[in-house]
């Protein structure tokens, strides 16, 4: 297995799927000649040219809509939003076109599109650029939402997302692009809707998605070393479809759970998951399911302060100790 960066894992997924399927086309701002604002598409334009890797004007509503329209004709566009925060100007296309076209056409039309880009705070780019919109979109039936925390997951999930025949919103993190991880040489895919038990434990289930999974793993280590608490860490990876069985199985074993995410708390993914746990595992619970989220204010610029807005291993440990 090679140790590569998250961005390169995605890059490999794109290259492999472009070669595999002539209908796969990458479209977005600065994805081609500039190699991507975060170099995620580096080298692809050079290699595959103008037809497969396409730069656009700063017109998200039009180019996301264009991708949706093209997907109705059988293309498999992989659309980059330079930041998921910019989905705010293409919201109608995502929520009313991509999500609803199949239903409103009684199944006559499908929309095999992937919309991707970073969705995270922690980089001091301010409130308008730091949204974590997974809950806005996972709330909409017709959409699928994926969030990868490691290079291995990023590559395997992206390949599945591109092959999926429904609209998949793929959320990454600028803070993960440079993170390295093991990725097999041989081809592999990871199905959407399968959670990954990233650490086995018996005392509490730390469930979550996205970059905070790394904090959860760190917390689990410290909990074991310093408190003899054996935490199980479950990375949902795919938010919709959701692997509820993996969640319930773990909670039935540990009887305690915490949900960790970078999202803001109100109606976050953790709210949904904890209410599902309460409903399905009520008698198994020895304590309330608690949630660790970003602090409930817009993302502050001040670099040192913003990091405190995001969930840390320390925050997780504190919550765990409050119920263990």
């Amino acid at each position: 297995m090679a140790l590569i960066e998250y961005r390169d894992a995605l890059n490999q997924a794109f290259a492999e799927e472009i070669e595999r399927d002539p209908n796969v086309v990458l479209i977005g701002e600065e994805v081609a000649q500039y190699d991507g604002a975060y170099k995620v598409t580096k080298g692809l334009w050079k290699k595959y040219g103008d037809k497969r890797i396409v730069d656009t004007p700063i017109s998200e509503a039009a180019f996301i809509g264009m991708g949706i329209g093209a997907s109705m004709l059988g293309l498999r566009p992989v659309m980059e939003l330079m930041f998921w925060s910019f989905a705010t100007v293409a919201y109608d296309q995502i929520v009313n076109n991509a999500a609803q076209i199949r239903y409103m056409s009684g199944g006559l039309i499908n929309c095999p599109i992937v919309i991707r880009g970073p969705a995270n705070g922690g980089t001091s780019v301010g409130a308008t650029h730091s949204h974590c919109p997974e809950n806005w979109f996972a709330a909409v039936p017709g959409l699928k939402v994926v969030n990868a925390a490691t290079p291995y997951d990023a590559k395997g999930l992206m390949k599945s997302a591109i092959r999926d025949n429904d609209p998949v919103l793929f959320m990454e993190s600028t803070l993960l692009y440079g993170e390295k991880g093991e990725v097999p040489e041989e081809e592999y895919v990871i199905p959407l809707g399968k959670a990954d038990v990233k650490r086995v434990g018996t005392d509490i289930s730390i469930i979550g998605h996205g970059r905070p999974i790394l904090a959860a793993l760190k917390a689990a280590e410290l909990l074991e070393a310093e408190h003899d608490i054996h935490a199980e860490v479950i990375d949902l990876r795919s938010i919709r479809p959701l692997d509820e069985e993996a969640i319930f199985a773990s909670v039935r074993k540990t009887h305690r759970a915490i949900y960790v995410e970078e999202n803001k708390p109100f109606c976050g993914i953790g709210a949904q998951v904890s209410s599902m746990i309460m409903e399905k595992c009520f008698d198994d619970l020895d304590a309330p399911v608690l949630r660790v989220t970003s602090l409930d204010a817009p993302a502050i610029y001040s670099p040192k302060v913003e990091t405190r807005q995001l969930p840390s291993a320390h925050d997780i440990i504190k919550k765990v100790l409050s119920i263990c």
Binding site: L73, N96, R102, S105, L108, N165, P191, P241, D243
Partner: protein
């Protein structure tokens, strides 16, 4: 408001000159079928409990959908807004599937899931039927993009209203269509009102709305939508340009809707538009009457034939209502179908993970 009267006689345009008598009659029939279908739909809508939601009637504008869609080749595609019955029938959808959709029945084109605003027939290159004003304009761009990507000689014909031109995504689309040389033809059906707002109260206009295309070096043409021949002649040029040069274009057709914005629109008569105006269009600018007179003048049609065609269309509409009436409603199980392709097909992906969350 006055509809620009036509300059040239488009009967002599090649695309019209070479029409055989039965082809001309076919065009007349297509317009009549739209009108009779909608008249029946309106009547049944008013009988409580049969239909719900909005119903935006196309009556008065039939020449545009009929004329434009009569020119569609294998790789020409159509997409429009919520006022979509006319276009649906014009591309060849049956009255049965359309009426059944209005009745919310499983036999409807969208299985009763889309309703009046959301008719679709991808097999006939018809991509709907879209409820969000202007929302279809980037999708039309995408259809053109898909055609070009696949190397097909075709055009995407994207209809929109005079009010829809004020949605920003339309201009984003024009710039991209022009920048990428995409064969999309935006067809503005200017019926002079967006709901209760006249064009003058919603848009700053010089000659016309299509002219705005100049800002993006997109060619445009304005024409009289009441004349089927004119619609065909003007549209044919745009389609040829799209096919041969892969270039976008904006067409604007003057037209008029006889009924309210939707069936719910109480104010249209003597409210935001004078009754005389409505009368004038009905009596002097009706596309069906105008084309009928033309064909009689050309000697390819008699009043008797016209009445037969009209009757046949009426009967077809009545039969479609009967069909709709007798068709079954969607079941509760149907509610969860057609949300996800993978779930419907029960693929591996569709069987992995929870997709629905109400229980």
């Amino acid at each position: 408001m006055e509809t620009a009267t036509k300059s040239t006689d488009y009967a002599l345009a090649p695309i019209n000159k070479n029409l055989a008598a039965e082809q001309k009659i076919r065009l007349l029939r297509d317009m009549l079928r739209i009108r009779r279908f909608e008249q029946k739909a309106l009547a049944d809508y008013q009988k409580q409990g049969r239909m719900g939601g909005f119903m935006h009637l196309y009556i008065g504008q039939e020449s545009i959908a009929t004329g434009v869609c009569s020119l569609m080749g294998d790789h020409d595609h159509v997409i429009t807004a919520y006022r979509c019955h006319g276009h649906a029938l014009a591309v060849g959808m049956t009255m049965n599937e359309c009426m059944a959709e209005l009745y919310g029945k499983v036999t409807g084109c969208s299985k009763g899931k889309g309703g009046s605003m959301h008719f679709f027939a991808p097999d006939k290159n018809y991509w709907g039927g879209h409820g969000i004003v202007g929302g279809q304009t980037p999708l039309g761009l995408g259809l053109a993009y898909g055609l070009k990507y696949k190397g097909l000689k075709g055009a995407a014909l994207c209809f929109l209203g005079d009010g829809a031109v004020n949605q920003g995504c339309f201009y984003e689309s024009l710039n991209m269509a022009s920048l990428f040389d995409l064969p999309v033809i935006y067809v503005i059906e200017n019926n002079k009102y967006s709901m209760g707002t006249s064009m003058e109260r919603s848009s700053v206009v010089k000659k016309c709305l299509a002219e705005r295309g100049e800002a993006f070096s997109v060619e445009w043409a304005q024409a009289n939508g009441e004349d089927l021949y004119e619609v065909r002649a003007v549209t044919q040029k745009a389609i040829e340009r799209a096919h041969n040069e892969s270039k976008p274009m904006i067409l604007e057709f003057d037209t008029y809707r006889y009924y309210g914005h939707s069936v719910a629109d109480s104010k249209h008569k003597g409210g935001y538009r004078p009754e005389e105006e409505i009368e004038k269009y009905k009596t002097q600018h009706d596309p069906i009457q105008l084309f009928k007179r033309r064909l009689i003048g050309e000697g390819v049609l008699t009043q008797e034939q016209f009445d037969e065609i009209s009757e046949a269309a009426k009967d077809e509409a009545a039969a479609s209502a009967q069909f709709a009436e007798e068709s079954p409603l969607p079941t509760d199980a149907n509610i969860f179908e057609d949300v996800y392709f993978e779930v419907d097909r029960q693929t591996e992906a569709g069987r992995t993970g929870k997709h629905f969350f109400h229980d």
